[in-house]
Structures are given as structure tokens and as C-alpha cells.
């Protein structure tokens, strides 16, 4: 077996390259001065500096560690105990338990997540730390059992029996003979649980409540709007910490001397040291974590719970509002409106202000989920232009429920160096010349709108024949499409990955700033004009605080700063006057002359049945 050492080394090295290539990529990105991940903008340490100041990321990181450690620890104890107990059970019964154990592992994470969510709702538990911890323990135990059980099968019972014959008590014999033999398996079970918990996204996503985030849910909410480079920096640091830990345990002279003995000892030293360090990390996290978990208490009258899309407000403004008013803001982000809706509907999470789009507001209003906002209590709303109130009337006829926040159009972003002909029509997205160069929006309404508009139909049609025609048109387009994405259109266009992309006007200013070759156009066949507004759910309790917040946001200086940060068009006319750059203030992209654009439609809520029908058509396109 000593032969072929060279080949074996080579194989190990190749596998290491395979496993570490993405990690190296992430590390490089953490030093990239450009915010876009497909462009190298020079070396910087800025992200590491801003990471320390980013309270949201740091607290998500601490929560992740605490949950991972506690759940892995509890799961290891429960799982190992279960394995020991099963050894003397009848085969049939043992099989049954193992089959149950397999369920959370074998089931789709999403089903496990949803089933637990349904359970927690039925048990009337508040979603938060507790529910996430329970869920994590549940999916961690199988990893412990699956790691420890095979070891039991290979265990030599003779040594244990010999120990008994030599006068050891069963418990003593177990701890001195069996357990050391099991230790590597138990440790790998613990390690696997810890890792699984660190990594889990889906189950956490369904069982978490307001103002609670682990690193994964934080990252996912950022995938939509582009990942903050601080996340890369944090991952790099975490990785470095793990490497340091490994080095300490294995090569530090202090541990090394101890390990000179038998092999097994090293296995015992390793989990011990790992556990100590992780515990220290977790305790420090727990101490600082207490403050924030107390703050997420909805019954506190001096607080305000906000639910917004990802990266859709300047975070400095939230701090400023807190400083000005002394109100404690709990800010939470949703990935899509479709994910937000059931959470609000089921009452699983309580909020005072939510920021959905037009058609969703209509749906929430129709389903009696909203309460009217008293506009008289919010003097700064006079800064919102009349034309936006009018647009809002298409889904809120009396301007009772919705306060305009941001608006824009849907259009084509294109790269002037890669497209020869003038871009003014949706039909260019069907041009064979741009095969694999086209990015489409991965959203039912937007994709359907593009097809319907190019056929000359309304974006709100429910006519089955027209919808069928649009579906076939999208199917025809599919071979030309490079990818169906949401906010990645932005990064990919900046990185010259594609020639044409369907995008929201709000992203156009930002992308043009990063890559001057890009330009944005609203096609002549017409498009969607959308309006995002603040609404107050029926269950909101902090009404006065919410009014204060809306008043604050509508102050011209604040609204201007917010616009500068998120680059989505503001309906605040006073704020628009404050924009120093004339090109942007009068930009056709940010503030198009709506009178010149004849065929801009807002989406309206088509009804639940119709929505599901549209979704099924869209799945048909994507599975085509």
C-alpha cells in the first residue's frame, strides 16, 4: 500500500484545489475595492473596517454561533444517548426509530421548515430565537445518529465484556472502553451538526421572527440586492479563525506535548479545545445578544417594527431617527413580496409599517389586512407630488392606506459597446444575434409584462388566449436567454457578462455610475410603472411612532439622502429639488416625463386564482 505515493499526493492536491477554489475567490473579493463582484477595483481593507461598525452583520454572526453551538451540543447529547439506548432494543423497534430519524434528513428542507412553522403557529409560540433553536436541534440529531450508529456496528463487544469480566461496572466500562472508541464518531457528529446549523438557511428562514437574523438569512436577503462586501470580509475572518484554531490544537507546543501519546488522545483534545473556544465565542455573543433580543419585544410601546425590501433604505437614517425621537426601531427585510405576504397574513410576525408595491397593496387591502393612515398627522406628506398620489389612486382610490415611497419603470439596460442597433423596442430581446447575452427578470409579472406589451396587450390581462400567446412567446425566447435573475442583472451588466437586461429604473443610475457603457431605455410598446408605498397592517400597535417615522422620511433633506443612497426615484418633489447634480435631477431615467410615455401601466391585483394561474404559466416557461 506504500506504492503510488506520488499519485496519491497529486490526487489530494487536486481535491484541495477543487474544494478551496471558491473560498479563495471569496477571500479575494473581500479585498476588492469595487462593490460589484465581477469587477476588480483595486485592493482595499475598507470592508473589514466597515464590518466592525455594521451592527446588523455582527449581531447576525453572534446569533448564528450561539444557535449552532447550542443546537449541536444538545443534539449530540440526545443523539448519542439515543444510539446507546438503541443497542439493546429489539431490531424491529430500532429500525422504526432509525426510520423516524431519517425523516428530517431525507425530507426537503423546505418541508421540514414549513411543517415546523405550522407547528409553532399551532402551538402559539412567538417566532424567534427559541423556535429557530428547536428547529436546528431537530435537524441536527439525525447527523449525530448517522455518524455514531455505523461506529457502533463496528464496535468490538468483546473488549466491553472483558471489562465487565474484570470487574468494571457497566457504567465504568462504558465510559472507559466504549465511549473512547465512539469518540471520533461522536465528535464528527457534533462537528457536522455545528456546520449544518451554521450553514442552514431554509429552515431558519421559515422559523425566524421579526428582527431576528442568522448569517444565512442575512446573506440571502442580500443576494437579492447585491451582497455587501462586508459579508465576504466576515467569512474570510471566520475562516481564518477556524484555521488558527486548528493550528493551535495541532501544532502549538502546549497541546503538542500532550498529544505525543496515543492517537486517541488527540481526538479527545481536539473536540475539547474546539468546544472551549466555541463556548467562549458564544458566551460573549450571548451577553451582547441579550440586549437586542429584549429590544425585539413587540409589546414595548417605545418601539417601531418596520418590514421593508432588502437594501431599500439608508441605514444611517434609521439610527438618526432613533437618536432624534428615542424610539427603538426594529428593522426587518423581506426578499420578495410573495414571501412577505403569508407572514403578515398569518400573523406570524407583527409589524407597524410595511413597504409593498402597488398590486400587493391592493391584495392586502382586499383581504382586509390594512388600516388607514391618518395623513393629517403627517405634515411632511405635502412634499409628495400630486401626480404620485394620483398613481396611487389606481390601487388605493381614496389615498387612505398608502404613502408613496419610491417609484420607477421597468426597461432594458444595454451595453452600448455590445449592441449595434438602436434599442427602443422589446423585440430586441427576441433577436437571435444576442443569444446568451440576454438577462430576463425572474418574476412572473415582469416577464409576462414584457411579452404581453410586445404583443400589444395589457399587462393586467386575464384573457386566457392572450396569456397563452405570451407564454409561447417567452418559451420561444428561452434559448436566447442567458439567465432568469432578479437583482443580479445589475452585477452582471456591470461586469460585461451580458448585452441586454430587463431591469428597474432605480438600478439604472447606479449601474451607469459603475459602468459608463451602459444605458437604459423604456421601450416604445410601453411598460410597467410601479409605486412602492408604506402601509400599516391592521395589527399595528405603534401607530403614533409610525406616523413620526413617515413624517421623518418625508422631510426633504432626509428623502434626498435616502434617494442618494438607494438611487430609486423619489416621489418627494421637495427632495428632488435638493439633488445637486443637474443631470440626475432632470434625468430621463430617474424622473421621466410621464406625459410623454403613453403606455405605462401599474400592475393591479388580479385575484389569488389568477395569480396562481400566472405562476403555473411561468413555471411552464422555466421548465421548457
Amino acid at each position: 500500500m506504500k506504492k503510488h505515493r506520488g499519485i496519491k499526493m497529486l490526487y489530494l492536491i487536486l481535491m484541495l484545489i477543487f474544494l478551496y477554489a471558491p473560498i479563495l475567490t471569496l477571500m479575494v473579493l473581500s479585498f476588492n475595492a469595487s462593490k460589484s463582484r465581477s469587477k476588480w477595483g483595486g485592493f482595499t481593507l475598507d470592508w473589514y473596517i466597515s464590518l466592525v461598525e455594521d451592527g446588523a452583520i455582527i449581531s447576525a454572526f453572534k446569533t448564528t454561533l450561539i444557535i449552532a453551538f447550542l443546537s449541536a451540543f444538545i443534539a449530540t447529547i440526545l443523539g448519542t444517548a439515543a444510539c446507546i439506548g438503541m443497542q439493546t432494543m429489539r431490531r424491529k423497534f430500532r429500525r422504526l426509530i432509525l426510520a423516524i430519524t431519517n425523516i428530517p434528513m431525507l425530507n426537503a428542507d423546505i418541508v421540514t421548515g414549513v411543517s415546523l412553522m405550522l407547528l409553532f403557529i399551532a402551538a402559539r409560540m412567538t417566532m424567534g430565537f427559541k423556535t429557530v433553536l428547536l428547529a436546528h436541534i431537530t435537524f441536527n440529531i439525525p447527523y449525530v445518529i448517522l455518524s455514531v450508529m455505523p461506529r457502533f456496528k463496528q464496535l468490538n463487544r468483546n473488549t466491553y465484556e472483558a471489562a465487565l469480566d474484570l470487574g468494571a461496572s457497566p457504567i465504568y466500562a462504558f465510559f472507559r472502553v466504549t465511549l473512547p472508541d465512539l469518540m471520533p464518531a461522536i465528535f464528527s457528529g457534533f462537528l457536522m451538526s455545528f456546520t449544518m446549523s451554521l450553514d442552514d438557511f431554509i429552515i431558519t428562514h421559515f422559523t425566524k421572527g421579526a428582527g431576528f437574523d442568522t448569517l444565512s438569512t442575512k446573506i440571502y436577503s442580500e443576494v437579492k440586492k447585491g451582497i455587501k462586501p462586508e459579508i465576504y470580509a466576515l467569512s474570510t475572518l471566520m475562516f481564518a479563525a477556524v484555521l488558527l484554531l486548528l493550528w493551535l490544537v495541532n501544532y502549538h507546543p502546549w497541546t503538542r506535548r500532550k498529544n505525543d501519546g496515543a492517537n486517541k488522545k488527540k481526538f479527545r483534545a481536539l473536540p475539547g479545545a474546539a468546544a472551549v473556544i466555541v463556548t467562549v465565542l458564544c458566551v460573549s455573543g450571548l451577553l451582547s445578544g441579550c440586549g437586542s433580543s429584549a429590544a425585539a419585544d413587540y409589546s414595548n410601546p417605545n418601539s417601531l417594527f418596520i418590514y421593508n425590501a432588502g437594501e431599500y433604505i439608508d441605514p444611517d437614517l434609521l439610527t438618526e431617527f432613533e437618536d432624534e425621537t428615542g424610539i427603538n426601531v426594529v428593522y426587518d427585510e423581506f426578499e420578495t413580496l410573495e414571501i412577505m405576504y403569508p407572514k403578515v397574513e398569518s400573523g406570524a410576525a407583527k409589524y407597524d409599517l410595511i413597504c409593498p408595491s402597488d398590486y400587493m397593496i391592493e391584495k392586502m387591502k382586499d383581504n382586509d389586512l390594512l388600516q388607514p393612515i391618518n395623513i393629517d398627522n403627517i405634515p411632511n406628506l405635502k412634499n409628495i407630488g400630486e401626480s404620485y398620489w394620483e398613481t396611487a389612486r389606481s390601487f388605493d382610490p381614496e389615498n387612505k392606506y398608502a404613502v408613496p415611497y419610491c417609484w420607477g419603470t421597468v426597461g432594458i439596460l444595454y451595453n452600448k459597446t455590445m449592441v449595434d442597433e438602436p434599442v427602443d423596442s422589446w423585440s430586441i430581446l427576441w433577436n437571435e444575434k444576442y443569444k446568451d447575452q440576454i438577462l430576463m427578470q425572474d418574476s412572473v409579472r415582469d416577464a409576462m409584462m414584457v411579452a404581453l406589451k410586445s404583443l400589444g396587450y395589457s399587462a393586467n390581462t386575464t384573457d386566457e388566449k392572450e396569456l397563452r400567446e405570451a407564454t409561447e412567446l417567452l418559451k420561444k425566447q428561452k434559448p436566447l436567454v442567458q439567465a432568469y435573475v432578479v437583482d443580479q442583472v445589475r452585477d452582471k451588466m456591470i461586469g460585461n457578462e451580458a448585452a441586454l437586461g430587463v431591469i428597474y429604473s432605480g438600478e439604472a443610475i447606479f449601474t451607469k455610475r459603475e459602468n459608463p457603457d451602459l444605458d437604459y431605455v423604456v421601450p416604445k410598446e410601453g411598460s410597467n410603472i410601479w409605486l412602492d408605498c408604506w402601509v400599516m397592517p391592521k395589527s399595528a400597535k405603534h401607530i403614533e411612532n409610525a406616523e413620526k417615522f413617515l413624517n421623518f422620511l418625508s422631510r426633504p433633506d432626509i428623502a434626498y439622502r435616502n434617494f442618494d443612497y438607494i438611487t430609486y426615484s423619489t416621489p418627494n418633489t421637495a427632495a428632488r429639488e435638493l439633488i445637486p447634480d443637474e443631470d440626475i435631477r432632470n434625468s430621463e431615467i430617474a424622473f421621466p416625463d410621464l406625459t410623454k410615455m403613453s403606455d405605462l401601466e401599474t400592475y393591479s391585483f388580479l385575484g389569488e386564482k389568477e395569480d396562481r394561474y400566472l405562476n403555473s404559466l411561468w413555471r411552464e416557461v422555466k421548465a421548457h
Binding site: 462504558f174 451582497i227 495541532n250
Partner: protein, 278 residues
């Protein structure tokens, strides 16, 4: 270990009833009832729709391929690790599961960067005047992502099993005239089977049910059954339909469980026989 030790299973048993069995019944309930609360088979039979059937087929194909690839890559790796790592086994193995400490969403996103049109690989290929490689948003990229994400789950259990094999058994086989290949297939492989089975379970199932990998590396152009179920819950908020398809998926999972269970019990008899001959 006396009979009292059975009680140790108690806490876990209660836990699994509360957090596994009951939630599962809630899902079953959702799958077999309609909006009106009456029994229906409609949601379970939705699987026969062309779109659903196609994505289930794709999921099965992709997860078979990625499980096979994982096994092919992991088995030699586990053996080499077990052989090389005698003095320092724990650290060598840890080096191979370390990548899992980077968040998996991030690692998958990193693959996007590597495979993209202007990505790392194509940058290198162009520098070497080789033709560019376009696998992003195509099936190979998804399989690659699955293999990458789930490989450690295959390596660990196999390594655990292989490193437990008594060197004397292998030496005995060689002394009795078996060559390297014979030793591998007649001695090492059968003895490592419990680890292999556990590894296959740990890779096959997440590959079959993933939706994140196909989302990020498939460019939304390839729908797996996981994507469909995810969309049923998040976009349609149609818990009945989502639960119905989940129940269908669980049938496939149960089938694979039964197959694995069969292998598993065969293996137990082998080891029993061995023990007796010892």
C-alpha cells in the same frame, strides 16, 4: 450495556414525536385536504402535470449523477486520508471539511464567479489561448455545485468506516495471496459499506431536494422539483399544493430508504458472520 440503557432513547423519542412526526402529519393533512377542508387527491396527483413530472425527472437524474460522482471522488480520497493520516488523521480530515465553514450560499455564489463568461476559469483559458468554457446556467454547472456542496458528506462517513478497518485483516488478505484489486473489492469495500451507505444517503437526498443550487448556478433556466415546491409555498402561498408535491417527493425518499435499508441489513449479516469466524 444493560436493558436500562434503553431509557436513554426516551428523550429523543419524545423529541422526534413532537418535532418530526406531528409536523409531518400537519403536512399530510394539508396535502390531502382542499381549501374547503374536505379530503381530496387533487394536490398529490398534480405531479402528473408535465412541468412537475419533468422537473422531478431532472432532479432524479441530477442527483443520481452527483451521488455517483461524489462516491467516485470520495472513496479514493477517504482511503488515502485513512492511509496518510495515521499520525495526524484528525487534522487531515478537518482540512477536507473546513470549506463547509464558509457559508454554502456564499460558496455557491463563488462558483458563479468562477464559471461565468468573464469568470476565473475563462480568464485563465483565454490567457492560455484555449477555447472558453460555457457551462454556467447549464446542467453541468448544477451537478458541479451539488458535488461540491455535498462531497464532504460522502468523505466523512467513508473515512470513518475505512479508518476502522483492522490493518491485520488487510495484511492477512495479502498474505493469503490476494492482490491489491482483490483486497480492495473483497475486503476493504465490503467492510466500508456502512459508511458508503450513509454517505449515499447524505448526498442523494439533499441533491434531490435542493433548490438553491439550481437557482444560483442554473440561472433560473432549469427547474428542479425543489424549485417547484419552494415556489408553491413562497410565491403561490398554496400550502396544499406544496404539501401535495412534498408527499410525492417523500415517496421517492422512502423508496431510497428501503433500498438502503436492505443493503444495510445484508451488511449486518456479513459482519456477524465475520465476528463468528473471529
Amino acid at each position: 450495556m444493560n436493558k436500562k440503557s434503553r431509557l436513554l432513547t426516551g428523550p429523543y423519542l419524545i423529541w422526534s414525536i413532537g418535532f418530526i412526526i406531528i409536523p409531518l402529519f400537519i403536512v399530510l393533512f394539508e396535502a390531502f385536504t382542499g381549501d374547503n377542508g374536505l379530503f381530496t387527491l387533487k394536490y398529490v396527483t398534480d405531479i402528473t402535470w408535465f412541468v412537475n413530472l419533468k422537473s422531478l425527472g431532472l432532479s432524479l437524474v441530477f442527483s443520481f449523477i452527483s451521488t455517483a460522482l461524489c462516491l467516485l471522488l470520495a472513496y479514493p480520497l477517504a482511503m488515502i486520508l485513512a492511509e496518510f493520516g495515521k499520525g495526524r488523521s484528525s487534522i487531515t480530515v478537518l482540512v477536507f471539511i473546513l470549506p463547509m465553514w464558509m457559508n454554502s450560499l456564499l460558496r455557491t455564489i463563488a462558483w458563479q464567479n468562477i464559471l461565468e463568461r468573464n469568470g476565473v476559469i475563462n480568464g485563465m483559458l483565454t490567457a492560455l489561448h484555449l477555447p472558453a468554457l460555457y457551462i454556467i446556467n447549464k446542467p453541468p454547472a448544477i451537478v458541479l455545485g451539488m458535488v461540491y456542496d455535498f462531497l464532504p458528506f460522502m468523505v466523512l462517513p467513508i473515512y470513518n468506516a475505512v479508518s476502522r478497518i483492522d490493518r491485520d485483516v488487510i495484511n492477512a488478505a495479502r498474505d493469503l495471496g490476494a492482490n491489491g484489486v482483490q483486497t480492495l473489492f473483497r475486503v476493504i469495500w465490503p467492510m466500508s459499506l456502512p459508511g458508503v451507505i450513509s454517505g449515499i444517503t447524505m448526498v442523494f437526498v439533499p441533491s434531490l431536494t435542493t433548490f438553491v443550487i439550481s437557482d444560483i448556478l442554473g440561472g433560473g433556466k432549469i427547474l428542479l422539483i425543489g424549485n417547484i415546491i419552494e415556489q408553491m409555498f413562497t410565491q403561490d402561498s398554496d400550502w396544499h399544493a406544496g404539501s401535495g408535491l412534498s408527499v410525492v417527493l417523500m415517496i421517492f425518499i422512502v423508496i431510497s430508504m428501503i433500498i438502503e435499508e436492505k443493503y444495510d441489513s445484508d451488511q449486518t449479516t456479513v459482519t456477524k458472520r465475520e465476528r463468528r469466524t473471529n
